[in-house]
């Protein structure tokens, strides 16, 4: 066994019990095989449990030359107790689109990290990056050099930057994907390199791309600009497969709930009655859909994937302004563009992004997310800036908000009135 010192960590050890794999086990094993940083990190964690407060300080001027993001400075405030984690910086590495790796790539990355850092990783961070946990300041440039020259990958976003764009598995593995999510994610990453690596904004900004409305990357909940695949034409129906579902020859939900006997499949109860817009019905033994009323909830397609498929006239719905609950609670993103073609070079989409970034950079307060800016000004102001026309889908219900403000340019003749002319018709 390597010459390492294990700290006494009774509270951390409690976490090894129970049915799930424990990070304490994994970190400790790596530590006992020669990484003192891992044991020191657990020692400091134990101290934090005891004191009920963190012993990490974060931030500062750490990074690689020319980049304002990608490295998060982290220091122990008890370095005399845990000297090997005195500097323990986190490095975010831009993940490949849809997180496809070869085992050779992962081995090489781990080799670099074992050599230059703590050997601990976090696959993946919430934004999607590969997170390399814990290294010293003098190792940052060598790690960056190795990542870029040997691995062909780059640092991800952190700070007031565009964060690493992320996408679902898309057409690579999913029959429902209406978009080439990897191509969009890669194009945005390349186009906005400067915004990704150098601080440009009042706060962070996130793009996430989902191939269909199932939204597997939760773009609608987590990104400032969600790009979600959709279709314009009709849901494709294979009536013989519908009958096969009804007859029990094909398992609903592709057998995903097959571990229990839920009884015979009932298309009325399990599909038609659950349609949020009630746009489906059975005409004899034929399934009918009024596609004009469909909101792309995907429920029927998820239940009967062999019978129903998204249409073929595909594009994306763009929504803006989701965020986590730091200020005023969590917020889902709001519909901005119901349908946009997403074909290279994505010029129409990029023009939209330019407009909203321009507004945010001009008007956004320090540490104000894009969704909060819309909240502070109004959807109306956002639509004006983005040069979008309001549509009924943008309001929850009609005629419930009396505070509709017209601007002078929206009214014929503006606000100017000829009082003399007015008085001719109306006595004072």
């Amino acid at each position: 066994m390597a010459d390492v010192k294990k700290h006494d960590t009774p509270m951390c050890d409690e976490l090894k019990k129970g049915p799930w794999p424990s990070f304490v086990d994994d970190v400790e094993q790596r530590g006992l095989h020669g990484k003192q940083e891992c044991l020191d990190m657990l020692g400091q964690l134990e101290l934090s449990y005891k004191h009920k407060e963190t012993h990490w300080k974060h931030g500062g001027i750490v990074g690689v030359f020319g980049y304002g993001g990608g490295v998060i400075g982290r220091y122990s405030d008890v370095p005399e107790l845990f000297p090997s984690v005195a500097h323990f910086h986190t490095i975010r590495v831009n993940q490949p689109a849809s997180k496809f790796y070869s085992s050779a790539f992962l081995r090489k990355l781990c080799e670099i990290w074992d050599h230059r850092g703590s050997g601990m990783t976090n696959f993946h961070g919430s934004t999607g990056d590969m997170v390399l946990l814990g290294t010293k300041s003098d190792q940052l440039e060598p790690v960056f050099f190795d990542l870029t020259h040997q691995m062909g990958c780059d640092l991800g976003g952190s700070g007031s930057n565009l964060r690493t764009p992320s996408c679902c598995i898309g057409k690579a593995r999913c029959e429902w994907s209406c978009l080439d999510t990897q191509a969009i994610c890669y194009d945005l990453t390349q186009t906005f390199q400067d915004e990704l690596h150098r601080p440009a904004f009042p706060y962070k900004f996130k793009f996430k791309v989902s191939g269909c409305p199932n939204d597997c990357v939760a773009a609608i909940a987590r990104s400032c600009c969600s790009i979600i695949g959709t279709w314009k034409d009709d849901i494709r129906i294979d009536q013989s497969a519908v009958k096969a579902y009804m007859g029990g020859e094909i398992k609903p939900n592709a057998g995903a709930h097959g571990d229990r006997d839920w009884g015979k499949f009932d298309i009325q109860k399990e599909v038609i009655d659950l349609c949020p817009t009630k746009c489906m019905w059975m005409d004899g033994d034929t399934l009918k859909i009024d596609n004009r009323e469909c909101t792309r909830c995907m429920h029927c397609i998820n239940v009967m994937p062999a019978a129903l498929r998204p249409g073929t006239d595909v594009g994306a719905t763009i929504l803006v302004g989701a965020k986590a609950p730091i200020l005023e609670g969590a917020q889902m993103s709001t519909l901005a563009i119901p349908f946009i073609r997403m074909e290279p070079p994505y010029d129409e989409f990029k023009e939209f992004v330019d407009k909203i970034w321009g507004w945010w950079m001009e008007e956004g307060k320090n540490r104000e997310r894009f969704g909060e800016l819309i909240q502070r000004f109004s959807i109306q102001k956002f639509l004006k800036v983005a040069e979008l026309k309001p549509i009924p889908q943008m309001v929850k219900e009609p005629r419930s908000n009396p505070y509709v403000f017209w601007s002078a340019e929206e009214v014929e003749g503006g606000w100017k009135r000829d009082i003399a002319e007015f008085r001719k018709r109306h006595a004072a």
Binding site: K57, H58, G59, G60, I61, V62, G63, G66, G68, G69, V71, I72, G73, Y75, P79, A86, H87, S137, S158, G159, S160, N161, D194, R198, P199, A200, F201, P202, Y203, K204, G358, M361, E362, G364, K365, N366, R367
Partner: protein
Amino acid sequence: MAVDKEELKKKVLEFATKKAAHKSKMYIKDLYAADPNASPREVKNAANELVREGKLEFFSSGSTTMYGVPGFGKTLEGAFEEEK
């Protein structure tokens, strides 16, 4: 109206240096005041070029990034060295 880049860089550096005397770390938005005629993106580009030249430096809180002037204010790394 496009602003001369070198002129803008000079203004941003002057503004940041003056401000650094009482507030050593600035948001990008604070730097917009260096030249009200320049667009936010022009100021951002000028400030980032100054960082590349070593005349300004980034300071990160982890979630937000700020700009500083080398020599003004403490860096966390500096504070850490002092504690040792």
